[in-house]
Amino acid sequence: MQKQEDLDFIARFKSGDKSVFEELVQRYQDRIYNLCRHMLGSASDAEDAAQDTFIKAYQNLKKFRPEASFYTWLYRIAVNTCLDYKKKPFFESLFKSSTEGEEYISEPVSDQPSPEKLFKSKQLGFALSKSLGKLSLKLRTVIILKEIEGLSYEEISEVLDVSVGTVKSRISRARDELRILLKDFTEQK
């Protein structure tokens, strides 16, 4: 249903109604921002990357082929934009402090009644974001698409343009590495 609505919007866009793009932005802004935030860690980088994702999508929407789903196409742009941000120029990396993994914990989880539980939950969330930051970009991307964004193996293979077998093995490796990293983190505490 969503896919058909997206295609209708895109058809209207291609026939000259550019204002319809705002509907697409509103529909996907939270998912794209969430992906960028988990990929990059910093709120400001995530906002810039998400903005750039939609601008690139606007500039290339005419080339979009309806055989693919719009959101996997959009995810592919977002992932590549985040990877570009990770490879930011030398000068920028010198003068910009890294906030990777430090801004994940924001609001307290409302269904945690006791402060101890809340503290433990926050600690684990912090450990998870720190451990994610230590994964290689390939493994980080694939595990975020699977666990955070909830994409299927086929959708991830479409986004990353790799085989389903590669997706499976990367997810398995990412989980192995994360388990070890989390264990190290909790043992240090």
């Binding site: 570009d84 930011k88 666990e147 398995s172």
Partner: protein, 150 residues
């Protein structure tokens, strides 16, 4: 089932992608192998942790900002920058440093060692040492001596 095979199937089981025919044999292995069971439990806990992970929403006014950037024709950051240009700035810094070192050593080579020492001595402002004859302090003292004699 071998442990290496079971290890490969853990992720598929957690994601609900394990084929029906492998399910029973996988679960049987988990019941008898403590090592594989521990790995499986660890991955399942990790999966639960991700479910509780923060979900971030786009900041207020995000879509308005996107549309404003599009209508103002904002260029996308980094787009179209070839990889070699990213390395160009690092290369430029290295060239400047190397050029500085080379030119500095060329200037120093131009002075004979004794002359360099004379120049340093003539600029000496150490008032506790006797003033060398060619220094500014030496010239000043000589002038004062002549004046006192008059």
């Amino acid at each position: 089932m071998k442990c290496s095979k079971a290890h490969k199937l853990i992720s598929l089981y957690i994601d609900g992608e394990l084929p029906e025919q492998d399910m029973k044999i996988f679960e049987d292995h988990m019941n008898i192998c403590h090592k594989c069971r521990a790995e499986f439990e660890g991955s399942r806990e990790l999966h639960k942790l991700f479910i509780k992970a923060d979900e971030f929403k786009a900041p207020y006014g995000f879509h308005t900002k996107v549309m404003a950037n599009i209508s103002s024709g904002k260029a996308v950051r980094f787009s179209g920058i070839p990889v070699f240009l990213r390395f160009a700035e690092a290369a430029a810094i290295i060239v400047v440093i190397v050029f500085g070192i080379l030119s500095g050593s060329t200037v120093l080579k131009g002075y004979p060692t004794d002359k360099t020492r004379d120049v340093m001595a003539s600029l000496s402002l150490d008032v506790f040492d006797s003033a060398p004859p060619d220094s500014l302090a030496g010239a000043y003292l000589a002038m004062m001596e002549v004046r006192n004699e008059k």
